[in-house]
Protein backbone atom coordinates (compact mmCIF):
# COMPACT_ATOMS: atom_id res chain seq x y z
CA UNK A 1 0.00 0.00 0.00
CA UNK A 2 1.41 3.39 -0.97
CA UNK A 3 1.71 6.00 1.79
CA UNK A 4 -1.07 8.06 0.24
CA UNK A 5 -3.43 5.12 0.19
CA UNK A 6 -2.57 4.19 3.75
CA UNK A 7 -3.17 7.78 4.85
CA UNK A 8 -6.45 7.89 2.91
CA UNK A 9 -7.64 4.68 4.58
CA UNK A 10 -6.51 5.88 8.02
CA UNK A 11 -8.30 9.25 7.77
CA UNK A 12 -11.47 7.67 6.37
CA UNK A 13 -11.47 4.98 9.08
CA UNK A 14 -10.87 7.63 11.75
CA UNK A 15 -13.80 9.70 10.52
CA UNK A 16 -16.19 6.79 10.28
CA UNK A 17 -15.17 5.44 13.68
CA UNK A 18 -15.57 8.86 15.29
CA UNK A 19 -19.01 9.25 13.73
CA UNK A 20 -20.06 5.75 14.84
CA UNK A 21 -18.98 6.44 18.41
CA UNK A 22 -20.28 9.97 18.81
CA UNK A 23 -23.19 9.87 16.33
CA UNK A 24 -23.14 13.64 16.09
CA UNK A 25 -24.18 14.10 12.44
CA UNK A 26 -26.06 11.14 11.02
CA UNK A 27 -29.01 10.84 13.43
CA UNK A 28 -29.59 14.58 13.18
CA UNK A 29 -29.54 14.45 9.38
CA UNK A 30 -31.98 11.53 9.28
CA UNK A 31 -34.33 13.08 11.80
CA UNK A 32 -34.21 16.40 9.96
CA UNK A 33 -35.15 14.75 6.67
CA UNK A 34 -38.12 12.89 8.15
CA UNK A 35 -39.42 16.07 9.78
CA UNK A 36 -38.98 17.94 6.50
CA UNK A 37 -41.09 15.32 4.72
CA UNK A 38 -43.84 15.93 7.27
CA UNK A 39 -43.59 19.68 6.68
CA UNK A 40 -43.85 19.15 2.92
CA UNK A 41 -46.89 16.93 3.49
CA UNK A 42 -48.70 19.91 5.02
CA UNK A 43 -46.96 22.65 3.05
CA UNK A 44 -48.06 21.10 -0.25
CA UNK A 45 -51.19 19.55 1.26
CA UNK A 46 -50.58 16.29 -0.56
CA UNK A 47 -50.64 12.76 0.81
CA UNK A 48 -48.99 11.23 -2.21
CA UNK A 49 -46.45 12.63 -4.61
CA UNK A 50 -45.27 11.76 -8.08
CA UNK A 51 -43.21 13.17 -10.92
CA UNK A 52 -41.68 16.60 -10.51
CA UNK A 53 -43.22 17.25 -7.07
CA UNK A 54 -41.80 13.99 -5.71
CA UNK A 55 -38.38 14.71 -7.20
CA UNK A 56 -38.39 18.25 -5.83
CA UNK A 57 -39.42 17.25 -2.31
CA UNK A 58 -36.90 14.41 -2.20
CA UNK A 59 -33.95 16.46 -3.43
CA UNK A 60 -34.69 19.64 -1.50
CA UNK A 61 -34.88 17.55 1.67
CA UNK A 62 -31.72 15.57 0.95
CA UNK A 63 -29.81 18.75 0.06
CA UNK A 64 -30.76 20.55 3.27
CA UNK A 65 -30.06 17.45 5.37
CA UNK A 66 -26.67 17.17 3.67
CA UNK A 67 -25.88 20.77 4.62
CA UNK A 68 -26.19 19.76 8.29
CA UNK A 69 -23.53 17.09 7.88
CA UNK A 70 -21.31 19.24 5.68
CA UNK A 71 -21.32 21.96 8.36
CA UNK A 72 -19.80 19.57 10.86
CA UNK A 73 -17.39 17.77 8.53
CA UNK A 74 -14.22 19.57 9.65
CA UNK A 75 -15.23 20.67 13.14
CA UNK A 76 -13.23 17.90 14.82
CA UNK A 77 -10.15 18.69 12.69
CA UNK A 78 -10.32 22.32 13.75
CA UNK A 79 -11.08 21.83 17.42
CA UNK A 80 -8.89 18.82 18.15
CA UNK A 81 -5.90 19.92 16.07
CA UNK A 82 -6.41 17.50 13.19
CA UNK A 83 -5.37 20.13 10.64
CA UNK A 84 -1.99 20.55 12.38
CA UNK A 85 -1.49 16.81 12.45
CA UNK A 86 -2.18 16.55 8.70
CA UNK A 87 0.22 19.42 8.02
CA UNK A 88 2.92 17.69 10.06
CA UNK A 89 2.41 14.30 8.44
CA UNK A 90 4.60 13.55 5.40
CA UNK A 91 1.64 13.01 3.10
CA UNK A 92 0.07 14.75 0.17
CA UNK A 93 -2.58 17.21 1.43
CA UNK A 94 -5.03 16.21 -1.28
CA UNK A 95 -5.31 12.89 0.55
CA UNK A 96 -7.30 14.71 3.22
CA UNK A 97 -9.64 16.03 0.52
CA UNK A 98 -10.15 12.57 -0.96
CA UNK A 99 -10.72 10.97 2.43
CA UNK A 100 -13.20 13.64 3.50
CA UNK A 101 -15.11 13.34 0.22
CA UNK A 102 -15.27 9.57 0.74
CA UNK A 103 -16.45 10.00 4.34
CA UNK A 104 -19.12 12.48 3.25
CA UNK A 105 -20.31 10.10 0.51
CA UNK A 106 -20.66 7.39 3.15
CA UNK A 107 -22.66 9.76 5.39
CA UNK A 108 -24.93 10.76 2.53
CA UNK A 109 -25.50 7.15 1.50
CA UNK A 110 -26.34 6.27 5.11
CA UNK A 111 -28.74 9.22 5.23
CA UNK A 112 -30.40 8.12 1.99
CA UNK A 113 -30.65 4.55 3.24
CA UNK A 114 -33.00 5.93 5.89
CA UNK A 115 -34.61 8.89 4.15
CA UNK A 116 -35.45 7.39 0.74
CA UNK A 117 -37.37 4.34 2.03
CA UNK A 118 -39.28 6.59 4.44
CA UNK A 119 -40.02 8.96 1.57
CA UNK A 120 -41.31 6.01 -0.45
CA UNK A 121 -43.51 4.82 2.41
CA UNK A 122 -44.87 8.31 3.05
CA UNK A 123 -45.56 9.48 -0.48
CA UNK A 124 -45.00 6.99 -3.29
CA UNK A 125 -47.69 4.72 -4.67
CA UNK A 126 -45.27 2.34 -6.32
CA UNK A 127 -41.60 1.92 -5.54
CA UNK A 128 -40.43 0.61 -8.91
CA UNK A 129 -38.45 3.76 -9.62
CA UNK A 130 -36.23 3.32 -6.58
CA UNK A 131 -33.93 0.80 -8.27
CA UNK A 132 -32.54 3.09 -11.00
CA UNK A 133 -32.70 5.99 -8.51
CA UNK A 134 -29.63 4.46 -6.81
CA UNK A 135 -27.46 5.56 -9.75
CA UNK A 136 -28.76 9.15 -9.46
CA UNK A 137 -28.21 9.14 -5.71
CA UNK A 138 -24.63 7.87 -6.05
CA UNK A 139 -23.60 10.42 -8.70
CA UNK A 140 -25.29 13.32 -6.92
CA UNK A 141 -23.69 12.36 -3.61
CA UNK A 142 -20.26 12.43 -5.22
CA UNK A 143 -20.76 15.93 -6.59
CA UNK A 144 -22.30 17.20 -3.38
CA UNK A 145 -19.44 15.68 -1.40
CA UNK A 146 -16.80 17.29 -3.63
CA UNK A 147 -18.20 20.84 -3.40
CA UNK A 148 -19.33 20.31 0.20
CA UNK A 149 -15.87 19.26 1.36
CA UNK A 150 -14.28 22.22 -0.39
CA UNK A 151 -16.69 24.77 1.11
CA UNK A 152 -16.71 23.13 4.53
CA UNK A 153 -12.93 23.18 4.83
CA UNK A 154 -12.97 26.93 4.19
CA UNK A 155 -16.03 27.73 6.28
CA UNK A 156 -14.65 25.97 9.35
CA UNK A 157 -11.79 28.47 9.50
CA UNK A 158 -14.08 31.48 9.31
CA UNK A 159 -16.10 33.44 11.81
CA UNK A 160 -19.43 32.47 10.30
CA UNK A 161 -19.05 28.73 9.94
CA UNK A 162 -22.70 27.69 10.01
CA UNK A 163 -23.67 30.53 7.74
CA UNK A 164 -21.12 30.11 4.98
CA UNK A 165 -21.84 26.49 4.07
CA UNK A 166 -25.50 26.96 3.12
CA UNK A 167 -24.81 30.40 1.67
CA UNK A 168 -22.11 29.30 -0.78
CA UNK A 169 -23.06 25.66 -1.26
CA UNK A 170 -26.67 26.18 -2.34
CA UNK A 171 -25.91 28.23 -5.47
CA UNK A 172 -23.05 25.86 -6.29
CA UNK A 173 -25.42 22.92 -6.01
CA UNK A 174 -28.03 24.34 -8.41
CA UNK A 175 -26.74 22.54 -11.54
CA UNK A 176 -26.47 19.34 -9.50
CA UNK A 177 -30.07 19.69 -8.36
CA UNK A 178 -31.25 20.49 -11.91
CA UNK A 179 -29.71 17.27 -13.17
CA UNK A 180 -30.73 15.16 -10.16
CA UNK A 181 -34.37 16.26 -10.25
CA UNK A 182 -34.36 15.98 -14.04
CA UNK A 183 -33.29 12.35 -13.79
CA UNK A 184 -35.57 11.56 -10.83
CA UNK A 185 -38.77 13.09 -12.18
CA UNK A 186 -39.54 10.44 -14.86
CA UNK A 187 -38.47 7.67 -12.48
CA UNK A 188 -41.16 8.65 -9.98
CA UNK A 189 -43.88 9.50 -12.49
CA UNK A 190 -47.35 8.18 -11.86
CA UNK A 191 -47.58 5.51 -14.54
CA UNK A 192 -44.41 3.71 -13.46
CA UNK A 193 -40.80 4.73 -14.16
CA UNK A 194 -39.76 5.97 -17.56
CA UNK A 195 -36.26 6.83 -18.70
CA UNK A 196 -36.81 10.11 -20.49
CA UNK A 197 -33.36 11.71 -20.95
CA UNK A 198 -32.07 9.60 -18.03
CA UNK A 199 -28.66 9.01 -19.63
CA UNK A 200 -28.22 12.72 -20.47
CA UNK A 201 -28.84 13.77 -16.89
CA UNK A 202 -26.49 11.10 -15.56
CA UNK A 203 -23.84 12.48 -17.93
CA UNK A 204 -24.37 15.98 -16.53
CA UNK A 205 -24.06 14.62 -12.98
CA UNK A 206 -20.89 12.78 -13.94
CA UNK A 207 -19.46 15.91 -15.54
CA UNK A 208 -20.22 17.95 -12.41
CA UNK A 209 -18.55 15.29 -10.24
CA UNK A 210 -15.51 15.24 -12.51
CA UNK A 211 -15.10 19.03 -12.71
CA UNK A 212 -15.52 19.75 -9.02
CA UNK A 213 -13.54 16.68 -8.01
CA UNK A 214 -10.63 17.97 -10.08
CA UNK A 215 -11.05 21.57 -8.89
CA UNK A 216 -11.14 20.43 -5.27
CA UNK A 217 -8.12 18.21 -5.76
CA UNK A 218 -6.21 21.04 -7.42
CA UNK A 219 -6.95 23.82 -4.93
CA UNK A 220 -7.15 21.92 -1.66
CA UNK A 221 -3.40 22.30 -1.05
CA UNK A 222 -3.82 26.07 -0.72
CA UNK A 223 -6.46 25.73 1.97
CA UNK A 224 -4.15 23.96 4.40
CA UNK A 225 -1.19 26.34 4.16
CA UNK A 226 -0.66 28.51 7.17
Amino acid sequence: MTPSRAAFAAILAKDLRAELRTLQSLPAMALFSVTTFVIFRFGLDRTSLSGSLAAGVLWATLLFAAVLGINRLFVAEREEGGFDAIRLAPIDRSVLFAAKVAALVVYLLALELVAVPIFAIFFLEDAAGLGPLVAVLLLTDLGLAATGTLISSMAVNSRARDLLVPLVLLPLAVPLMIAATGATEPLLSLGGPSYDRFGTWLTVLGLYDLIFGLVGYAVFDFLLED
Binding site: T147, L150, M154, A155, N157, S158, R159, A160, L163, L164, L167, V168, P171, L172, V174, P175, I178, A179, G182, T200, W201, V204, L207, Y208, I211, F212, V215, A218, V219, F222, L223, E225, D226
Partner: protein, 240 residues
Protein backbone atom coordinates in the same frame (compact mmCIF):
# COMPACT_ATOMS: atom_id res chain seq x y z
CA UNK B 1 1.38 53.34 -10.56
CA UNK B 2 -1.98 51.88 -11.50
CA UNK B 3 -3.07 55.34 -12.57
CA UNK B 4 -0.84 55.27 -15.63
CA UNK B 5 -2.89 55.23 -18.79
CA UNK B 6 -6.13 55.77 -16.94
CA UNK B 7 -6.82 59.08 -18.67
CA UNK B 8 -6.52 57.91 -22.32
CA UNK B 9 -8.47 54.79 -21.40
CA UNK B 10 -11.27 56.87 -19.90
CA UNK B 11 -11.38 59.14 -22.95
CA UNK B 12 -11.50 56.12 -25.27
CA UNK B 13 -14.34 54.65 -23.18
CA UNK B 14 -16.40 57.84 -23.28
CA UNK B 15 -15.83 58.18 -27.03
CA UNK B 16 -16.77 54.58 -27.67
CA UNK B 17 -19.87 54.84 -25.49
CA UNK B 18 -20.93 57.99 -27.33
CA UNK B 19 -20.35 56.33 -30.70
CA UNK B 20 -22.26 53.18 -29.78
CA UNK B 21 -25.16 55.12 -28.27
CA UNK B 22 -25.48 57.28 -31.37
CA UNK B 23 -25.40 54.14 -33.49
CA UNK B 24 -28.08 52.60 -31.29
CA UNK B 25 -30.43 55.55 -31.55
CA UNK B 26 -29.74 56.96 -35.03
CA UNK B 27 -28.30 54.17 -37.16
CA UNK B 28 -29.64 50.79 -36.07
CA UNK B 29 -33.05 50.06 -37.63
CA UNK B 30 -36.12 49.63 -35.49
CA UNK B 31 -36.91 46.00 -34.84
CA UNK B 32 -39.95 45.04 -36.89
CA UNK B 33 -41.31 42.81 -34.17
CA UNK B 34 -40.51 44.53 -30.88
CA UNK B 35 -40.05 48.12 -31.97
CA UNK B 36 -38.15 50.62 -29.86
CA UNK B 37 -37.79 48.45 -26.74
CA UNK B 38 -35.52 46.08 -28.65
CA UNK B 39 -32.79 48.75 -28.35
CA UNK B 40 -32.21 47.64 -24.76
CA UNK B 41 -30.63 44.60 -26.37
CA UNK B 42 -27.57 46.75 -27.18
CA UNK B 43 -27.11 47.42 -23.48
CA UNK B 44 -28.34 44.20 -21.90
CA UNK B 45 -26.42 41.63 -23.93
CA UNK B 46 -23.00 43.40 -23.90
CA UNK B 47 -23.35 43.93 -20.13
CA UNK B 48 -24.11 40.25 -19.61
CA UNK B 49 -21.26 39.09 -21.82
CA UNK B 50 -18.80 41.46 -20.17
CA UNK B 51 -19.90 40.41 -16.68
CA UNK B 52 -19.51 36.72 -17.49
CA UNK B 53 -16.11 37.22 -19.08
CA UNK B 54 -15.21 39.36 -16.05
CA UNK B 55 -16.07 36.49 -13.70
CA UNK B 56 -13.86 34.15 -15.72
CA UNK B 57 -11.07 36.75 -15.77
CA UNK B 58 -11.40 37.03 -11.99
CA UNK B 59 -10.90 33.26 -11.80
CA UNK B 60 -7.79 33.47 -14.01
CA UNK B 61 -6.34 36.22 -11.78
CA UNK B 62 -7.12 33.97 -8.80
CA UNK B 63 -5.13 31.13 -10.38
CA UNK B 64 -2.24 33.57 -10.85
CA UNK B 65 -2.54 34.52 -7.17
CA UNK B 66 -2.46 30.90 -6.03
CA UNK B 67 0.52 30.13 -8.25
CA UNK B 68 2.66 33.15 -7.43
CA UNK B 69 1.35 34.00 -3.96
CA UNK B 70 1.54 37.65 -5.04
CA UNK B 71 -1.17 39.71 -3.30
CA UNK B 72 -1.47 41.94 -6.36
CA UNK B 73 -3.36 39.19 -8.18
CA UNK B 74 -5.84 38.81 -5.34
CA UNK B 75 -6.62 42.51 -5.67
CA UNK B 76 -7.06 42.11 -9.44
CA UNK B 77 -9.35 39.14 -8.90
CA UNK B 78 -11.37 40.97 -6.24
CA UNK B 79 -11.85 44.07 -8.39
CA UNK B 80 -12.72 42.04 -11.50
CA UNK B 81 -15.42 40.14 -9.61
CA UNK B 82 -16.60 43.30 -7.86
CA UNK B 83 -17.17 45.24 -11.08
CA UNK B 84 -18.74 42.19 -12.72
CA UNK B 85 -21.23 41.83 -9.86
CA UNK B 86 -22.21 45.49 -10.30
CA UNK B 87 -22.64 44.84 -14.04
CA UNK B 88 -24.65 41.77 -13.05
CA UNK B 89 -27.19 43.91 -11.18
CA UNK B 90 -27.56 46.02 -14.33
CA UNK B 91 -27.99 42.87 -16.44
CA UNK B 92 -30.80 41.57 -14.25
CA UNK B 93 -32.56 44.95 -14.20
CA UNK B 94 -32.30 45.50 -17.97
CA UNK B 95 -33.32 41.87 -18.50
CA UNK B 96 -36.42 42.35 -16.35
CA UNK B 97 -37.35 45.55 -18.21
CA UNK B 98 -36.92 43.84 -21.56
CA UNK B 99 -38.93 40.83 -20.41
CA UNK B 100 -41.75 43.09 -19.16
CA UNK B 101 -41.83 45.06 -22.40
CA UNK B 102 -41.70 42.17 -24.83
CA UNK B 103 -43.37 39.29 -22.95
CA UNK B 104 -45.46 41.15 -20.38
CA UNK B 105 -43.81 39.67 -17.32
CA UNK B 106 -40.97 41.00 -15.18
CA UNK B 107 -39.46 37.56 -14.91
CA UNK B 108 -39.64 34.67 -17.33
CA UNK B 109 -38.40 31.28 -16.15
CA UNK B 110 -38.15 29.68 -19.58
CA UNK B 111 -35.48 32.04 -20.88
CA UNK B 112 -32.47 29.89 -19.95
CA UNK B 113 -29.77 32.52 -20.42
CA UNK B 114 -31.38 34.93 -17.97
CA UNK B 115 -32.04 32.17 -15.41
CA UNK B 116 -28.44 30.91 -15.69
CA UNK B 117 -27.25 34.44 -15.21
CA UNK B 118 -29.33 34.81 -12.05
CA UNK B 119 -27.81 31.64 -10.57
CA UNK B 120 -24.28 32.76 -11.43
CA UNK B 121 -25.05 36.17 -9.95
CA UNK B 122 -26.38 34.59 -6.74
CA UNK B 123 -23.19 32.56 -6.39
CA UNK B 124 -20.92 35.57 -6.90
CA UNK B 125 -23.03 37.66 -4.53
CA UNK B 126 -21.87 35.31 -1.75
CA UNK B 127 -18.27 36.34 -2.50
CA UNK B 128 -18.61 39.34 -0.17
CA UNK B 129 -19.96 37.64 2.97
CA UNK B 130 -17.48 34.86 2.26
CA UNK B 131 -14.51 37.24 2.31
CA UNK B 132 -15.94 39.12 5.25
CA UNK B 133 -16.14 35.97 7.39
CA UNK B 134 -12.41 35.27 7.18
CA UNK B 135 -10.33 37.54 9.34
CA UNK B 136 -6.74 36.65 8.64
CA UNK B 137 -5.67 38.68 5.58
CA UNK B 138 -3.48 36.01 3.97
CA UNK B 139 -6.04 33.32 4.50
CA UNK B 140 -8.79 35.59 3.22
CA UNK B 141 -6.84 36.17 0.02
CA UNK B 142 -6.14 32.46 -0.49
CA UNK B 143 -9.70 31.35 0.25
CA UNK B 144 -11.13 34.08 -1.97
CA UNK B 145 -8.93 32.83 -4.81
CA UNK B 146 -10.12 29.27 -4.26
CA UNK B 147 -13.68 30.60 -4.37
CA UNK B 148 -13.00 32.50 -7.59
CA UNK B 149 -11.47 29.43 -9.26
CA UNK B 150 -14.34 27.17 -8.19
CA UNK B 151 -16.98 29.67 -9.25
CA UNK B 152 -15.18 30.22 -12.57
CA UNK B 153 -15.46 26.49 -13.29
CA UNK B 154 -19.11 26.67 -12.25
CA UNK B 155 -20.15 29.28 -14.84
CA UNK B 156 -20.06 27.14 -18.03
CA UNK B 157 -21.39 24.05 -16.25
CA UNK B 158 -24.34 26.01 -14.91
CA UNK B 159 -25.21 27.41 -18.34
CA UNK B 160 -25.20 23.91 -19.75
CA UNK B 161 -27.43 22.47 -17.00
CA UNK B 162 -30.00 25.27 -17.16
CA UNK B 163 -30.13 25.13 -20.97
CA UNK B 164 -30.80 21.40 -20.77
CA UNK B 165 -33.51 21.80 -18.14
CA UNK B 166 -35.73 23.53 -20.69
CA UNK B 167 -38.16 20.93 -21.86
CA UNK B 168 -37.63 20.25 -25.52
CA UNK B 169 -41.09 21.43 -26.58
CA UNK B 170 -40.22 24.97 -25.49
CA UNK B 171 -38.40 26.77 -28.30
CA UNK B 172 -35.94 29.47 -27.35
CA UNK B 173 -37.95 32.63 -27.08
CA UNK B 174 -35.64 34.89 -29.01
CA UNK B 175 -32.73 34.04 -31.21
CA UNK B 176 -29.19 34.70 -30.06
CA UNK B 177 -27.15 37.58 -31.41
CA UNK B 178 -26.08 35.91 -34.63
CA UNK B 179 -29.46 34.38 -35.29
CA UNK B 180 -30.19 36.29 -38.45
CA UNK B 181 -29.15 39.70 -37.19
CA UNK B 182 -28.90 42.17 -40.11
CA UNK B 183 -25.53 43.79 -40.73
CA UNK B 184 -26.40 47.23 -39.36
CA UNK B 185 -27.67 45.72 -36.11
CA UNK B 186 -24.61 43.50 -35.87
CA UNK B 187 -22.28 46.50 -36.31
CA UNK B 188 -24.15 48.45 -33.62
CA UNK B 189 -24.06 45.45 -31.32
CA UNK B 190 -20.30 44.97 -31.77
CA UNK B 191 -19.69 48.68 -31.08
CA UNK B 192 -21.80 48.48 -27.92
CA UNK B 193 -19.94 45.35 -26.83
CA UNK B 194 -16.60 47.12 -27.31
CA UNK B 195 -17.87 50.17 -25.41
CA UNK B 196 -19.13 48.13 -22.45
CA UNK B 197 -15.94 46.04 -22.35
CA UNK B 198 -13.91 49.27 -22.33
CA UNK B 199 -16.12 50.60 -19.54
CA UNK B 200 -15.44 47.46 -17.50
CA UNK B 201 -11.69 47.77 -18.05
CA UNK B 202 -11.74 51.46 -17.08
CA UNK B 203 -13.72 50.79 -13.91
CA UNK B 204 -11.39 47.95 -12.92
CA UNK B 205 -8.36 50.12 -13.50
CA UNK B 206 -9.94 53.03 -11.66
CA UNK B 207 -10.82 50.86 -8.66
CA UNK B 208 -7.30 49.44 -8.53
CA UNK B 209 -5.83 52.95 -8.74
CA UNK B 210 -8.06 54.18 -5.94
CA UNK B 211 -7.15 51.21 -3.75
CA UNK B 212 -3.48 51.62 -4.44
CA UNK B 213 -3.61 55.35 -3.64
CA UNK B 214 -5.42 54.82 -0.36
CA UNK B 215 -2.96 52.06 0.52
CA UNK B 216 -0.06 54.43 -0.09
CA UNK B 217 -1.68 57.15 2.01
CA UNK B 218 -2.14 54.67 4.81
CA UNK B 219 1.50 53.61 4.65
CA UNK B 220 2.68 57.21 4.68
CA UNK B 221 0.48 57.98 7.67
CA UNK B 222 1.86 54.97 9.46
CA UNK B 223 5.40 56.14 8.67
CA UNK B 224 4.52 59.58 10.10
CA UNK B 225 2.84 57.98 13.10
CA UNK B 226 -0.36 59.81 12.32
CA UNK B 227 -3.64 58.13 13.19
CA UNK B 228 -5.40 56.56 10.26
CA UNK B 229 -8.59 58.23 9.14
CA UNK B 230 -11.49 56.68 7.40
CA UNK B 231 -12.86 53.17 7.57
CA UNK B 232 -10.65 50.20 6.97
CA UNK B 233 -12.41 47.78 4.67
CA UNK B 234 -12.39 44.25 5.92
CA UNK B 235 -13.10 42.61 2.62
CA UNK B 236 -11.25 44.60 0.02
CA UNK B 237 -7.65 43.50 -0.42
CA UNK B 238 -4.91 46.07 0.07
CA UNK B 239 -2.95 47.06 -2.98
CA UNK B 240 0.65 48.18 -2.77
Amino acid sequence: MYGKGLKPLSIATVAMLALSLSLVFFYAPLDGDQGFIQKIFYLHVPLAMTALVGFIVGGIFAIAHLRTNDRKWDAYSYVAIHISVIFGVAVLITGAIWAKASWGHWWVWNEPTLVSFLIVFLLYATYYPFRYAIEDRDRQARYASVFAVTAGAFVPLNFMAVRMAQSLVHPRVFATSNGGLPGSMMLTFLCSLAAVALLWTTLVKFELTAKSASGQVKRLRRALDAPATGGNSRIAPEVS
